[in-house]
């Protein structure tokens, strides 16, 4: 399946297994950059690692400093390969711009749940395209 008409936020391409959540992520308090894992027991991705995944999530919340978390993940080698947002926020956009992580927004008419947990996904940000292999 190909989802086209995505909005490019940060250019580039990346692929990996989809790590999908409907819950926003506060990167300053919920992510351990050294391991790349979500550390908040209340989050549905608790203990899951972002490393090498295509992270599919609504948007980031919380502190303005969360932007640095993407750069930290990149430095520790634990960053996602690409990020797909419902509506990209300023922290995700600016952090990924510096960490060279491709980011796209899903088009408004994209079906929630179009990308299944664990499916193999390739993000082509410059072409505004997400390719989902079943």
């Amino acid at each position: 399946m190909i989802i086209s008409n995505c909005r490019k936020i940060v250019g580039g391409a990346g692929e990996g297994k989809a790590l999908v959540t409907a819950q926003p992520i506060n990167f300053l308090v919920m992510v351990d950059a050294k391991t790349g894992r979500i550390t908040d027991p209340k989050h549905e991705l608790y203990n899951r690692s972002l490393k090498g995944t295509v992270l599919v999530f609504p948007y980031a919340t919380g502190s303005s400093v969360g932007a640095y978390a993407f750069y930290s993940l990149r430095e520790y080698g634990t960053a996602p390969s690409a990020v797909v947002c419902l509506k990209a926020d300023i922290s995700t956009a600016s952090g990924c711009a510096i960490a060279n992580i491709p980011v796209v927004d899903l088009p408004k008419d994209a079906q929630a749940g179009a990308i299944k947990q664990g499916s193999f996904v390739r993000v082509e940000a410059d072409a505004g395209m997400v390719v989902v292999k079943v």
Partner: protein, 385 residues
Amino acid sequence: MELSRDEEEALAGRHGEAMASAYRILVAIGEATGAKKLIPIKWAHVSGVNYNTIGDAGVQFLDKFSSTAKVSVRTTINPMGYDKSRPGNIIEHFQKKQASIVRSYERIGVTPSFTCTPYEVFDDIPQKGTAVSFAESNAAVFSNSVLGLMTNKESALSALASSVTGKATLSDLRLEEARDPKVAIEADFKFGSELDYGLMGYFAGRVVKNRSCVALDGIEKPSTMQAKALSAAIGTSGSCGMFTLGGRAKKKISFGKKEAQVVIDELGTAEHGDMITLGSPQLGMNELELLAKMTEGKKFTKRCMIFCSRAIHNQATKIGLAGKIERSGAEFMCDSCMCLTPYVTRDEYDAVITNSVKGAYYMNNSNKVKVALKDIKTIAKEYTE
């Protein structure tokens, strides 16, 4: 987003690596927020100063960035991790890393304000309608809502990009139409203290999903202390970046005792604490005056840390106010703030007492220390004799 020829060239690296990175950031957030162009700003306020918030990767990034970056507009910066004149329990490793961060920012040419309340520290606030770029969320919300400045809730990196380029995206709350509230939160009980404003703010930030403005109804015009508590709490829980008092919002949501209790249940995780921490946002002169009055002739029965900017502490020292407060046993921690402070660790403290909803959020979630949430009058009454 359209760029001018100069901006295109800077993005391509013609004015050095730092400038190119800064434009890469602005282009990304321009795309994310649907901006059509960049506009000049008068003031940038940058977060990401405390070593506990940006870590080793942040230290390295700033070291490299600062070798070619220079501010092009007035730039103030957030608190760092600790007060250099009170190193207390702060380990040498932390001090070294913190010093490196401060050196990097100084090299870029910022004003070393170390404050999260730049709106209280500087007298020359730009006139209403001026575009600025503030990362610290309480400062962004306060400036939009109380001072009439125009900023989005920037990230640490986007405000830094604005600082070196002198520009920001023309989007969201820098557009008049976005400053018209679509949702109103209506309080259905009478507020007793700054804590009620904080609880309402945290609730409002949760329910307003967009980077927009929220109308607040059924409350009296907040004092400066109450507006700070409100702004900080709105900024903590979501992406909403501004409030108005009243307004013609179509959608109305009630904020009653039940809704307030949900926030207390989440963040008020203890009945009492081992220490009092005040100052998220950092305390200003009128809060210090209030505290001095309430504690006159009394002593705190618990250790009490007051976080404030060096500038406010200097003012308070000059008129004898700082001394009055210190006679009650409270300690001033300048240049720092209670959020992610290395002064409060779980090894030493089980729980702290504070009136700050924002502070409570970070104590619970980052410092992993429990919190007794009480308003400042109750704290001054219960914990002094």
